[in-house]
Amino acid sequence: MNEPVIELINVTYIYPDGTVALKDVNLKVMKGEKIALLGPNGSGKSTLFMIMAGLLKPYKGEVKNFLNSRVGLAFQDPDDQLFCPTLLEDVTFGPLNMGLSKEKAIEKAIEALKTVGLETLKDKPPYRLSVGEKKKASIATVLAMEPEILALDEPTSNLDPKSRKELISLINELCFKRNLTLIIATHDIPFACKVAEKAYVLNKGKIVGNGKLIEVLSNFTLLEEAGLYPF
């Protein structure tokens, strides 16, 4: 638990149109930690995730991936993540790109689909799935790659209470069984309480607070300023 996996040092990211998405962000993730990245819409959470996953390069600053850990990022909109004709093909996409054989990739995919409870839908085209199923499917696509860090961007957006409850159980079960490091970006505070232990508050591209989740949530002024209170 005391081994660092990812560290962001003074990371700044500016979009081509000049919008400053992140400014001097410092963040350290330890192995096995469950972190909630709290922030309102447009605060830079998704950009931060992309930088952590190595998909975007920071304009300034440094990203250290100490153990060369694989970051399994599930995007906010599952439709971005599910682009193959069938669910099975979508889930095998990552393992095949890792160089696994077809048989091994299918095995990993089936296992990931079983974990999220979608193995019976493996031959369905992703556009036929419900929003809740799509969210689970997008998690399965990264689980099949056996990532060390699971990063979920707004996992509860557009979910009904039942699907939300199922997702919470799934995340907790995954972290427990696979000993994953978890980072979730959300503005759904009740959800964060059920899955995370530590929190960073991001507002207008800056980290404005961090600490144990309970401590962060006790700071109403901080939350109010960040547009996260009342929940």
Partner: protein, 266 residues
């Protein structure tokens, strides 16, 4: 009207119910179907007479029947959308091809002559389009899209192309859905009948908005692919199995095409 069109498109274009039913073509391997229908299309556009085109069309309707696709569905799908428009395109050729004049009439100072050769030319054009469209419709209705992609990959069609086709198909559904929702939102805020010019302007702005959304979506999909190890090299699951019955299907299909192509006449 556009809203109705999008609604019909949404409901019909992406249904896979026919590919799941237990008909003749559904039992045939996608590779065999792809070869056979491409051969049929090539035969119809290269050397077929009107009679052989009618034979080809009849074959497609019989195959549709054997594949449990109703005559009405197949006729509407193959004729209404594209063949109807090709008929409109073919009308001028009725009067443009020189030959034996059947009817002649004057419009103002212009004399129009309807010729026998013009009618045959237009008929051939319409039938060719109809055969091509009905062949492709049969292929896509009776085969899962993933199987068509797998078949294309088996024929060593570059993976970049098959990947792009697959992604295009996948997101076409999403954008039709998005366009439909945008049209609904527009209708919801339209109280009086819009002037044609305003309607066109609104449509243009919606199209540009859809284009930007498509572009941004493309960027995000690429990032999602990159996150899962994509490095411009496409790997896929190809589990198609070719059997004796599929070879037999191709054989009979080619015999029929050969026989029908040899029919002389117009």
């Amino acid at each position: 009207m556009i809203l109705d069109f999008l609604k019909i498109f949404r409901e019909t274009a992406f249904t896979e119910k026919h590919s799941l039913s237990n008909g003749l073509l559904q039992k045939i391997d996608s590779k065999a179907k792809l070869i056979s229908f491409i051969a049929l299309i090539l035969a119809s556009i290269s050397f077929a007479s009107v009679y052989s085109l009618i034979f080809f069309l009849t074959l497609n309707f019989l195959l549709a029947f054997a594949s449990k696709i109703s005559f009405k569905t197949f006729f509407l799908r193959t004729f209404f959308f594209i063949t109807f428009f090709s008929t409109l395109i073919a009308i001028p050729t009725l009067f443009m091809v020189r030959g034996v004049t059947l009817i002649s009439f004057n419009i103002y100072s212009v004399t129009l002559q309807l010729t026998k050769e013009g009618i045959l030319y237009a008929l051939k054009f319409i039938l060719r389009v109809w055969v091509c469209i009905s062949s492709l419709t049969l292929l896509t209705l009776t085969t899962k899209f993933s199987s068509i992609i797998n078949a294309m990959e088996s024929f060593r069609i570059p993976k970049v192309f098959t990947m792009m086709t697959s992604v295009t198909y996948r997101f076409l559904f999403l954008f039709i859905d998005e366009a439909y929702r945008m049209m609904l939102a527009k209708e919801n805020r339209t109280v009086n009948k819009m002037r044609r010019i305003d309607y066109m302007k609104t449509l243009a702005s919606m199209m540009s908005s859809l284009f930007i959304r498509a572009y941004e979506r493309g960027e995000r999909v690429y990032l999602a692919m990159k996150n899962r190890g994509y490095s411009m090299e496409t790997r896929s699951l190809n589990t198609v199995k070719f059997q004796f019955k599929d070879a037999l299907f191709i054989f009979f299909f080619f015999v029929f095409i050969g026989f029908a192509s040899l029919i002389g006449g117009y």
